[in-house]
Symmetry: D3
Subunit: 284 residues, 6 copies
């Protein structure tokens, strides 16, 4: 008769059974080397989402017409990246098994490795569209293989050459860029050639992983490693719109760190991007 | 099979049916004249509660042994204090009808008027123990009768003389103190004579309303109207412990304003006091 | 011999009698549904204005050559939007009666309804140029007619169809956009077609209402409802310059919320826009 | 007919002519060696003063019954401490000449030297009651004679031995304490022996200079050099009450730095202490 | 001829060879479950230390008369608590081998396990004086043995029963308190019986580990898990003074998290306590 | 054997002897009239520099291949701008005498006068490229000749007409712009005509002085006087790249005020610009 307190992303009002998309949070930042705090990212997105509308004037679509379930945050093992990744992979696998699209809210970028592991089993020909300020292609970072700074290298080990398509990259060490030339497609600084990439991807299953620090820190200060010279909100939005025709099977948003988001603007940005991404693929 | 995201105060894991106590939030601050923001108080308490333990070394009791249900925040009508108060009163009445103890998280102090209205119908001989920095005894505030600064005056209109017992009061205009002398019991600055008050109250039904700004702003900066010279955490805790023998039928905590709580300390204080108050009366 | 402490917007040094323009603050935010605080906006603008120059290199004009009086903030009735609006309307009416141009500093956007009421009596053919992120065209918001989210709908009731010209709108629910198509002119996202609008307006009396959240949150984080994808400072400045030929009879700036402006940048932006707007029409 | 925006400390509503006390601000912090910002202290006190009541339940007195004029902040020469001090001295002298009590709001503590210079001319037998965390007895600080860290040494040069009575001192270099033993009375850490001091001072003219950092940083974080182990608000209040019988001819409060007062608590404390100090001596 | 930029704790000007005490930082917080950030604690202490004096009026001693070397922060392996602990242990061992007293600045409390491992090898009869808000006696925390919440349990495994003496403990789960009764000495809430403990410890080698969250959050907000009801600065200072006669062979301060210390007060407290602790045992 | 704690800008690992470039900080803000705090700028840059990479994907160059020495911050005389300037001049002169390029981190902009004095002695035909929001061409500011607002006027007195080339200027009083027309080259708002300027400068010795407030406050909020309408990060970066062919003999970055940089984004921007500027001229 009376309900427990339920807090979901705005408009995510479906039951699990009816849902076509399932949101879950992966509050993990244990390998963050500089400024931690992304563990609170998914929670902040949910909490501030009631500051935006469910309707998008960009797409003329409304979250109220979608079927999205918000499963809340995973309770991840602490101190052991490998265990936490296993939990995320299991969650993703379960959602896929029920024929729904998994949507993950980070957490640091390393969580995408777990989602990729689950996806690759289901979709062996998976390709990854990767939006980020950082290349994340190191083989190890200070000796560690499981680090946010190595996540795309680890994913490359799963999918192989020519399956990862990076845009907006403006930071990394020299070896990342050198190695990357032979193994992934890296567009530095911006979204040039995105149209060609989309065409080339055709109907392949796609995983979109969006590290929010691709945005310029002026509009997205709330992240651990701010990198000036990023893209604007309108640019990332336009880039995402370009991805609409793709066969996207899962996506994530990560690296929001609310403790550095004193004004709440970064969280509002993340909420709005999540709304737009849901609306892009909810009616496929 | 998979559950929606549920966020409750730590340890409030009971079903509504089994619960002996029911928490709800009243996110209302529309009459706040100085610095608004208490509308986010209940949400912050819930969110940060996982930073404290369920076990109290003060009372050697554990929330895990209680039966508490957290119903979340009411969605209150905006712009109309009277409508919002009606919603709160209705919620309180329903909880009372099911034989459970209502626990309200403000919001500004005006919300206590609504709870008092519901309680007085059930318990005509209700007495109120009022912890606060401010007397809240104005007849009107800038012409308004329904104001946080008038809440105890409005409650007095419900219960009459000698039924309100104030402690810790250190702010008000002269007329409040003069009027108060004839109608309520006011202990300025501290908890002197609390023991006598408890004895005098005997087995009467009691409503405990705790305006958190009774605490010194050193330990509770996160409130709209900080008043230096308040009580310490240990003093409020000891005062609450004195109330244990009373027949408490409802209580509230109010006036936490997270936007002025940059370090999170005030919210942590509120969480701990809520834990202790639950444990005080959960096993009656 | 010795003067009381007077704090005015920089360069607003005229007497009331000599003034051609009169600034006043409307510190009201009682219907704000998400994050309150705009009640402190006008005060912050005045206080931080001495961080900017009186001279504009954009217009090669100087506030020292204007005749502006700053009347300070109104002391508005609390808890009753209708009473507060009546006070604002009275103030505006008095300034108009003395043949001066009223300039209002919000507060939330609802205060513009009061100014519009006064203006429409003096100028029955008034048109409104409306810069905002939000359409503000709801008929009611959570049941309330007097809400910041309904302000342009209420103003439409005063002036009728084809008299409201909105620019920069990027948020609202679907019904607002649908309804708006038949009753107001809405330019989504940007200032396209502003030149045509200016031409069409000719010599009509114009009220310019500037909701500062039209700006991108990167440059204007200090507001209650940040909406990414807004215009830049240079874009809003250029748009305002386009309005110079118009017969502007009053204007306002609203929705600055200093508590979310930790760096002070939003307040500095508001100060600079106020300077430019004064200089645009002070020499007409 | 319409008034300019006037912002005064709450209840300071007298004309200059009728006033018995005159408040002015000395927004100066140019010699602050660690964290600057006290230049904004007086402004913040004025601005936030409307968050407190005019009535004191401690003294059962009301600012509405006093005659206080608030002259605002001096516009002090920048870059030249000596010029700024001359301006402050002149202001103090003028107020004294009109038979009114000057009340100064800092700024850093060096401003007290200027007030002392003016007072000593009028009252050659002036004694100083000095509340502070820091001894401020250095002969020079990094080579400078005019430094906040030297202010009591400079004042000693004006008044000589046994005329300065320090309380609460808990920081300084060794030479300050050694030198101080022979020239001033220093009570370390607390207010012990204050009663004896008050008795010994008899009817002498007294200047009370209150460096707010005497307070523990828990209740007064908003200052440049926080020193843990300070007195509580209730302790400073009690100490001030002890001074009531004294022939106080001027007083100041200084070292509030609003930029380190994120919650506003320090400013609220300063406002409340100013209210109490006014009420202590307004009816003499 | 020109020196590199060297930043040390104030007064730590000795060469390593001449030093009797050696400070090093252990910037580690990878097992922190709630709010991370203590990794920046040691750096902040060093940086803000020039805001305090080298002279202590409490002890009438001066850091300028000590021989302290500051080795800076260790560069700890990320992602692997065990590797990081090994590095800390090695550093401690080296300092001990050279006959100097190691002083560690955390980081989270887990770092004390590493120091204890090194100390126990050198001093098999080591006893630990533990100041903390939290018991830290869990056998595991969410399955992890190497967690800040388990640190004293791990140290107990090194030293056995009746060798750990806890004070100020006010948080933990029930099992910690139950287990603790048989294995360690726990003084809840305060420093009662500290004198007896000091007497009983006699001339044993002592490791003092100071979790700064033993302090009340009013004076120490800058920590991950604030627990109201803590000790005051004067109380912790007095407690430390009681330890002066002990044969202290090493000590640490930990759990300062600067990101939650907006005003800088917590860091100033840590600096002052470090000064006092150095002065307590520098002249032994 | 064990090293003192050394903190340098990332990658500045050379010895002084081997270095081709020498960084030093000038932590001075004593003439700042509005919001002080740039005294902490150089320290913050050093401290946060480990959040960026040593490799630049913009230039495909790496700080690890340069020879840069970081001498830390000067300890500047307080209260006397003239003395502080003399110390800075002496430092610059010494670095020049050893044939190395001096790189100064402010502090407020006045510090550039001191560097200019040293440079002009060595390079009588010095020209200055000046990036700033403010013209800084006042003859005096509130009566003071040595003020941040006069720094380019003072430098003009050293070098004469047509030797100062300003870009991005968008604030000043009218007299500055009028005077400037005859004596310096001022490009308002942007970098138009920078190419021509670079060509005209040929092989002259160049001092690049970068007031970071040339950047839009959206990306650089952390400064004392934010001026909306500034250039983007990509624009300043492109402008700096244009300067690569010049014979740059010294450069500075100034006006970062960390206390207004709550998110750390401004400091990250300063770090990245310093990296790029070093790489531009390190291999000449």
């Amino acid at each position: 008769m009376m309900n427990k307190n339920v807090e979901t992303f705005i408009g995510a009002d479906s039951t699990y059974e009816d849902a076509k998309m399932v949101i879950f949070g992966a509050p993990f930042d244990a390998t963050t080397s500089f400024r931690p705090g992304t563990r609170f990212g998914s929670k902040a997105i949910r909490s501030d989402s009631f500051g935006i509308e469910t309707y998008s004037p960009y797409q003329d679509l409304d979250l109220l017409d979608t079927a999205v379930f918000d499963a809340g945050d995973l309770e991840l093992a602490f101190g052991s990246p490998e265990k936490a990744l296993a939990q995320i992979e299991e969650m993703t696998t379960e959602i896929l098994r029920h024929g729904k699209m998994p949507i993950m809210l980070g957490g640091e970028h390393l969580v995408s490795l777990a989602m990729a592991r689950a996806l690759v089993k289901q979709y062996p020909d998976l390709a990854i569209v990767h939006f980020d300020a950082h290349a994340d292609l190191r083989d190890d970072y200070l000796g560690e293989k499981l680090s946010h700074a190595c996540v795309m290298r680890r994913i490359w080990e799963l999918v192989g050459d020519d399956r990862i398509f990076q845009f907006g990259i403006r930071s990394g060490d020299r070896t990342e860029f050198v190695w990357g030339k032979d193994h992934v497609q890296t567009q530095k600084f911006n979204f040039d050639h995105l149209t060609e990439t989309v065409q080339a991807l055709g109907n392949r299953p796609i995983y979109v992983t969006l590290d929010l620090d691709i945005l310029d820190p002026s509009i997205f200060p709330g992240t651990g490693t701010p990198e000036a010279g990023g893209v604007t909100f309108n640019e990332i939005l336009a880039a995402l719109m370009h991805l609409k025709p793709l066969h996207v099977v899962a996506f994530d948003l990560n690296e929001l760190s609310p403790v550095y988001d004193q004004s709440g603007v970064s969280t509002a940005v993340a909420c709005k991007l999540l709304r737009e991404m849901i609306l892009l693929w909810a009616f496929h």
